[in-house]
């Protein structure tokens, strides 16, 4: 099994969700994060003093998948999250040792 971590633009969340749905992946956990990277924040101005929000709001998706699904899912995310501009984000894949569904005690493939 794999744990996929995707960092995407917040505006793309709905598209990515739909794309994941299409490849049969309905569960995920999303959090709001701040991204530092190539993309720079916007200049803001407060009482005559410029300041720049260094970080950019991003969405982080954590998706547990089976090893077989993994490539498909990564592809789906990549396609749906793409805009071509800096800051489109990253996809990271980790090995997942073990998974449990709390409600049913199912484990691993059945739990995802």
């Amino acid at each position: 099994m794999r744990l996929i971590i995707a960092i995407i633009k917040p505006a793309k969340l709905a598209d990515v969700r739909d794309a994941l749905s299409d490849v049969g992946c309905n569960g995920m956990t999303v959090s709001e994060v701040k991204g530092f990277g190539r993309q720079k924040g916007l200049d803001e101005l407060y009482r005559g003093t410029k300041y720049r929000a260094e970080f950019i709001p991003k969405m982080r998706l954590d998706i547990a998948v089976t090893a077989e699904q993994c490539d498909n899912v990564v592809h789906a995310i990549k396609d749906a999250a793409y805009t071509g501009n800096t800051g489109d984000g990253k996809v990271f894949v980790l090995k997942l040792e073990h998974a449990v569904r709390i409600r049913t005690d199912e484990t691993n493939h059945d739990a995802i």
Partner: protein, 390 residues
Amino acid sequence: MTLQQLSYSLDTFYLLISAVLVMWMAAGFSMLEAGLVRSKNTTEILVKNIMLYAVACTCYLLLGYQLMYGQPELTDYAPAADFFFQVVFVATAMSIVSGAVAERMKLNSFLLFCVVLTAVIYPVQGSWSWGGGFLESAGFSDFAGSGIVHMAGAAAALAGVLLLGPRRGKYGKDGQIYAIPGANMPLAALGTLILWMGWFGFNGGSQLQLSGTENAQIVAQIFVNTNAAAACGAITAFLVMRILWRKADLTMILNGALAGLVAITAEPGEPTAQVACLIGVGAGLLVVFSILALDRLRLDDPVGAISVHGVAGLYGLLVVPLSSADATLSAQLLGAGAIFGWVFGASLIVWLILKVTFGIRVHADEEYQGSDVSDCGVEAYPEFTPSKQN
């Protein structure tokens, strides 16, 4: 000191205090609208509201008042008090526009429109009735401005909304309507209560004179009726929403109260309190269905300004004959048609000119990201990251 002088002082004071209450409505509109837009457009709507008040006061001072009233000879109270009372009314009319076009209208174009509305469009139609023009002669009766102020503001707003289009994401391709909840309900409630309070000055002051038993009694009755119509508007909207959807929809209750206030404004002194209640009930009913209908028509009005001020304003004008012997339905229709036609037409032209010159709609990116950062340089709540992005 003579009795005359003392009554002059009292009436001046009464007008000034009424005017301060109406001025306070600027805060009411600001808070109401700041509560009903998303957080990313909150600073901008605050800028719009404060600037429109400032611009309206200045333009009406330099031009509008003369256009509307000429050089009135006022002997019962200080002329400056009359001016101050009138000037805060213009600001109210313009405040109505800011709500309806919120979250997508360019700030500069909005303020340019504000100049034209408050210096020319509003005063011209105001002169027809309150300035002693043809509508007054025709028997048109609009005591405190259901039509002259509120429907006029809504007409200008409607013209703007038609040219501007809805907010992105408000309507789906297949007729879906998406909810875009406002960011701060306590502010919306506060704004409504401020408006409710200010309305006592708006309607109560429109008697223009307090001295004398009869004047005092009418003013007192206006206070009672204004309050009763608002209360019943709120209760009605609550009941309708509760029955239709089982939810106690706060923003509809607020709109219901405001609709009651707008409706009673055309004739707040003559009805009994019980009739005022009924007028409020009608307004509460109307406003809910008007808001639902406008959404079906894909006319996006984030705060419900067109329904509250336009629909309930028209309704207020049309029910005047029920309680006032002097008013006729035909005169009311004539007045409503003339005001709406002029304000809507003139506004449409001004909006059109602005559209082809400076543009009236913010860029799509700016709309997505919110006008606060791009146009105002600062977010409304910079330390709190909104967790839901639209």
